[in-house]
Amino acid sequence: MRAIERWVERPLETFLTESAARVTLLMTSSGQVVAQHGFTRSLDVMSAAALGAGILASTAELARIMGARPLDTVVHQGTAVGVYLAGFETPRGRWLGLVVFGQETSLGLVQLFFARLVSDLAQAAPAEAPARQVLAEDFEDELNSSLRTLFGR
């Protein structure tokens, strides 16, 4: 597990232990990857971050068209692995979480402990650095910057 901000580490470690998730990615809605577990290549993180953000953006737009409340969670359940994707609010602004889990755990456990992760992050977040406005053109720059930090290149 690698995190850009230290205060994220303990809540995320607890989540990983409790949920038995295989892969986890936390990122801001502007594209900055905050923490990751299970990825070995920055290219994979970049793809997953972009695709995850895209899926959530699509479902949000779908909800808007249907006149429904925003859809914060998307689950793709496969035979071998499942993907849990959720947007959530933190004291640092809106973040996205992407979790890949296998048959050693269940959607119920991932959902349960992800809710606790969100709560733990809210409690652990330092007070400074208010959320700034998110611009679409910043997404790639933020993503590349955070990947360099996480993977050291």
Partner: protein, 114 residues
């Protein structure tokens, strides 16, 4: 018998705080009848996980899957009855429950429901 009626058969037992039908594979609530304060989603997820682990133990021992699991704590009791259709019947009770009555109720309800 409907799932609601099945759950009602269990929750009418004095000392029972709630009952749930849970999907065994994903640990999600299919139906529930819970007193306020019982976290259904958490109970469902953890009960399904417990049932899966116990199934692993009995399989490793070359034994058939148990028909009833009981977890007794100082403040209450949790009973799980796995069914063949991918569902799990769960009862949450306080320490004042008559465990024998609850056990019979859960087994009967699971047999009827599943």
């Amino acid at each position: 018998m409907s799932l609601a009626e099945t759950l009602s058969e269990i929750t009418r037992i004095p000392g029972v705080h709630g009952a749930l039908v849970v999907s065994r594979d994903d640990g999600l609530v299919v139906a529930d009848a819970l007193m306020e304060g019982v976290e259904g989603d958490a109970v469902a997820a953890l009960a399904a996980s417990l049932a899966a682990r116990m199934r692993g133990v009995t399989t490793a021992l070359g034994q058939p899957e148990p028909v009833l699991l009981m977890l007794a704590g100082t403040d209450g009791t949790l009973l799980l009855a796995p069914g063949p259709s991918g569902l799990l019947l769960v009862a949450v009770a306080g320490s004042d429950v008559n465990v024998s009555e609850l056990r019979l109720g859960v087994l009967a309800a699971a047999g009827t429901a599943f």
